[in-house]
Amino acid sequence: MAQQPLPSSVQPTDVYGGDEVSAIVLDPGYINTRAGFAGEEMPKQVLPSFYGHITSSNRDVFGDQAMYPRADFEIRNYMNRDSVVEDWDAATKIWEHALVNRLGIPRPTPPSKNGLNNKPKPAAEGEDVEMADEADLDETENYEKPMAENPLLMTEAAWNSPKQREKAIEICMENWACPAFWLSKTPVLAAFAAGKATALVLDVGGSNTSVTAIFDGMVLKRSVQRSPVGGVWLSSQIRSLFEASEPKVEVVPTFMVENKKPVEAGQPADARLKTFDFQISPSFRAYEEERVLKEFKESVVEVWRGPGRYLAPGNEDYAKNLPGRVFEMPDGSNQMWREQRFKAAEGMWDDNAAFPSATEEGKITKAQTVPGLIKAALDSIDVDVRPALLANVVVTGSTSLLPGFTDRLNHELTAMFPSVKVKLHAAGLSSERRFGAWIGGSILGSLGTFHQMWISRKEYEENGPGIVEKRCK
């Protein structure tokens, strides 16, 4: 502090609205679970919502480091494709892992007992880290109240059911003995992160893409629209693209490659694959393949920027002449991608351009495309607020990081509402887009005026878990 501190009587606490009470913000999503302290600008912990389950010993392991090939190993997710918690036991464990073990919430137990001092952690060799994690996990169960000092702010999907919400407060209050709890919807928080109280939030996440109108900091329930057109769906489109290309592109995940030799573009891979003396479960392989696809998404796929759709006459020829991108698979085979990189993501905007999907859920309709969702959301709410919403369109979710996404969105919206002023708010920092909801929670949880909102322990004890429905509207 270079400045002389003000006398405490004139400290502008009420001008700067922050008042940090070391609240914890937890934002579970289908792909990632994010956790950290309110008031910070990034979540300290981001771990996959997928976790490993060892069938032989019936143990669960969490975190990226624990996901390596081993016997009797399955990958599971505690969330379902609706971005709603499905397996509460696993959810509790994974959250505890994130909050207590990894976030390092100060514990009320003496240092001699918390195991931090006497157990030096070995370097990042997988097995050992996992051991440490598991050991920590055992210990946390011994603590009576791991988070007795920290209020917890959790996020939920806008379509979460009352039962799920009650379960969340139960875990917070019963298992962790938090002093206070709050449940907030992700689009609301994403709007807060963009500094808006009224906004139309487009969240293009992992398993879902949703459009939600936020009015004065609250969700307009009638406006909530969602479709599976998210990151996972995009991955399946890329698979279809690989299938359709000539020759077929095979996805070989990194863990299977022993070594590789460089090959010419378009040539078959020259690599030796690892052999395992145990069965690799399909779920693990799929998880690893998804990593490759994610890399492909991040480095190759691009959204056709418009104006007009990709399928409009002339556009494809133009795209063919644009510079392509080379992508090298883990096994060394590589290829130049030109117009296909636009085709992969075009299905999000134009159902006719989507690759035909083998599964039923992979097929999408016009209403499920991004423009369709926005139109439906706006149609279902009062006319008077529509212009205000269109002037505050907040774009969040990691899949929106695809290059060209916001350009295309802007074109689609201005074409749809030619006489209204459309303004997009898409954070420039990629981390702000990836953690939009968490950051909003961080802001909310550290606001001085928010402290009157918390559901306190006492209120929970008096009213039971039903209180969450009454309070968190």
């Binding site: 307009l220 212009p387 209120e459």
Partner: protein
């Protein structure tokens, strides 16, 4: 390397070419001992003007050491938030700078106290608790809530019954309004009322309601429905608590606004909004330009009207009561001129001939010395103004007042008057906004009303009516009186209060309009008759058969006797035509509806009341005239 070398290299003229050495030595001797290596070289580059090297002093550190204040201490302090309304059950902790005496800020303590006492039902004395009680959050004061109307069971039954709304649903609506702080978008969004099955709740209070009502299905309420109901309840409860006449101004405004809420209009507005949203870009642009155009046109007509009104104002002169018939002949006019001239001369005024301005162009040309003719925009104004001044003369001449002009020269007073008029106008425009405009409510409250300008001395309200009469021709006066007597109204009002006269004026206007219309229709009728008669004549000329048919037709179309009369009087011209028209009409009246009556006759039929009222009298008057 010395500065000389530098000068050589750069080809700079050396200003001390003669004896540079000693001076240089002098200068450099002082700093040299403590400079070494690169530093010295750098110093030398400056040559004869050595580079000033200011030692960098960091004052921050020094001052910090000098004050030697103890490190600010922060502590993890517990606090509560009284806005929660849970008596401080939730204690959170945040880092705060420790204050020396440890006493919490005063306002916080007071707030907390109030909260504690309000809620505290325990036996612990307040003084004992004060020490351990955590301080109140500084943010508690931002907690504000809207006030929604409350009503008791009785009040609801006596004031707020509504066929469309049960009490339960009204309660639910008000609850939501409170929860969502009257944000209607949210209220409508979350509105989800499911009426309870009547079997469960057999309350005595709403027993009558449930017994008659069928199980109501949950209604689909639009936002306008919700608003309408809420405003209805709010306005009524407001009136119950405080009758309208005692409300303060803002209260009354709110009350009126809520009372006048029109869901239908709101719905229409939203429809419009929807349409605007779905406009295409071209349409939007076109509309914008059209709007601009309209604005311009409106502004222009506004200005035009303004000017015209002004002109009329100036041309307006009070009507005389005296008989003007004597001036209708040229001889009479001559007479008038003579008298005027003589009075003028008596007052030692110049001859009116130039001022009167036999040609108006002359008139407008005279006063331009004062009024700036240079400004073309002002031109019209100046003309108008000079017209007024002209008017002045008329005044002066007509009422032979002893009005002495400022100067005997005529053009000067004219222009002066024009200037005065201009000034007056400007002053009026400036003064206008200063006077506060009363609203309708205030006018009611203070009993303020507006009058036309009154003359000096007492005036009677009915005189105004009389004046209206006097403007009409005798015949019309008669018709009007007839119409009024038909309506059982005395021609002179018995109790001419302001309201009554106003009302009477309205009625009077309607009657005169009727009479005028009647006259019009009569004339049209007459013309039709004449044309028909002409046609019949032509037909007759054509041949016997045609003649017969024509006669029949005429009989059908024009209405028996009237038609004949018309045929007879065909040559007589308009007056006669009018008369026959009347004849036809009276017939028509007698026979009510005849199938073959012509268009204008039907129109007359519509205006029957007028014709009935005056037909008889009309005839008699006509005859008298003849």
């Amino acid at each position: 390397m010395t500065s000389r070398d530098v000068h050589d290299v750069l080809n700079l003229p050396s200003d001390h070419s003669g004896a540079p050495r000693p001076s240089k030595k002098q200068k450099t001797s002082a700093p040299r001992p403590n400079l070494k290596g690169l530093a010295r070289e750098v110093q030398n580059l400056g040559g004869d003007n050595p580079i000033a090297i200011v030692p960098e002093v960091n004052f921050f550190k020094k001052r910090r050491f000098a004050t030697r204040k103890p490190v600010a201490k922060w502590e993890l302090k517990a606090f509560t938030n009284s806005a929660r309304g849970d008596d401080g059950a939730l204690v959170l902790r945040h880092w705060k700078r420790r204050t020396d005496d440890g006493a919490p800020p005063v306002e916080g303590a007071q707030d907390g106290d109030g909260q504690q006492q309000r809620g505290g039902g325990e036996g612990t004395p307040a003084s004992e608790r004060r020490e351990e009680k955590p301080e109140d959050s500084a943010f508690a004061k931002y907690n504000v809530k809207v006030v929604v109307p409350h009503y008791t069971e009785d009040q609801y039954h006596s004031n707020l019954q509504n066929n469309d709304w049960t009490k339960e649903e009204t309660d639910y609506l008000l609850e939501l309004a409170k929860d969502f702080d009257l944000r209607w978008t949210l209220i409508w969004d979350r509105y989800d009322f499911t009426p309870k099955p009547p079997g469960g709740g057999g309350d005595a209070a709403n027993g009558e309601d449930t017994s008659t009502a069928v199980v109501p299905a949950p209604k689909q309420r639009s936002m306008e429905d919700l608003k309408a109901r809420y405003y209805e309840v709010a306005a009524k409860m407001m009136a119950v608590q405080k009758p309208a006449q005692y409300m303060t101004r803002p209260e009354f405004e709110l009350y009126e606004m809520m009372q006048n809420f029109d869901p239908e209009q709101e719905r229409k507005r939203k429809q419009f909004a929807l349409n605007t949203l779905s406009r295409s870009k071209d349409e939007a642009r076109e509309e914008e330009s059209l709007l601009l155009e309209v604005k311009r046109i409106l502004a222009r007509t506004e200005r035009f009207n303004e000017e015209r009104r002004e002109l009329y104002n100036r041309l307006d002169y009070p009507a005389t009561d005296s008989d003007i018939n004597s001036f209708k002949t040229s001889a009479g006019l001559q007479n008038l001129l003579q008298t005027l001239m003589s009075t003028d001369k008596n007052k030692k005024r110049k001859s009116i001939m130039p001022g009167e301005g036999v040609s108006p162009s002359n008139n407008s040309g005279v006063p331009n010395s004062a009024v700036s003719e240079t400004n073309p925009a002002n031109r019209r104004e100046s003309i108008a103004a000079s017209a007024t001044s002209n008017n002045h003369h008329h005044h002066a001449r007509r009422d032979s007042d002893a009005r002495t002009p400022a100067t005997p020269a005529d053009p000067t007073p004219t222009s002066a008057a024009a200037a005065a008029a201009n000034k007056k106008k400007g002053g009026g425009a400036q003064q206008q906004p200063e006077r506060r405009k009363l609203t309708q409510q205030e006018e009611q409250v203070y009993g303020v009303s507006y009058h036309d300008r009154l003359g000096s001395g007492p005036t009677f309200r009915y005189e105004k009516i009389n004046k209206l009469y006097s403007h009409k021709s005798g015949q019309q006066q008669l018709r009007i009186t007839n119409a009024l007597s038909e309506l059982d109204l005395p021609p002179r009002l018995v109790m001419p209060t302001a309201a009554v006269t106003a009302q009477f004026e309205v009625l009077w206007g309607a009657v005169t309009a009727l009479v005028d219309l009647r006259k019009m229709s009569d004339r049209l009728d007459g013309e039709i008759k004449i044309e028909e008669a002409k046609k019949a004549e032509r037909d007759r000329a054509k041949g016997i058969a045609a003649e017969k048919e024509g006669g029949k037709e005429k009989g059908e179309g024009g209405g028996g006797g009237g038609g004949d009369g018309a045929a007879a009087a065909a040559g007589e011209g308009e007056k006669a035509g009018e008369k026959t028209g009347e004849g036809g009409q009276t017939k028509e009246d007698g026979e009510k509806k005849r199938p073959g009556s012509s268009g204008s006759l039907t129109a007359a039929g519509h205006k029957r009341s007028a014709s009935v009222l005056s037909a008889a009298s009309d005839k008699s008057s006509k005859r008298q005239k003849k």
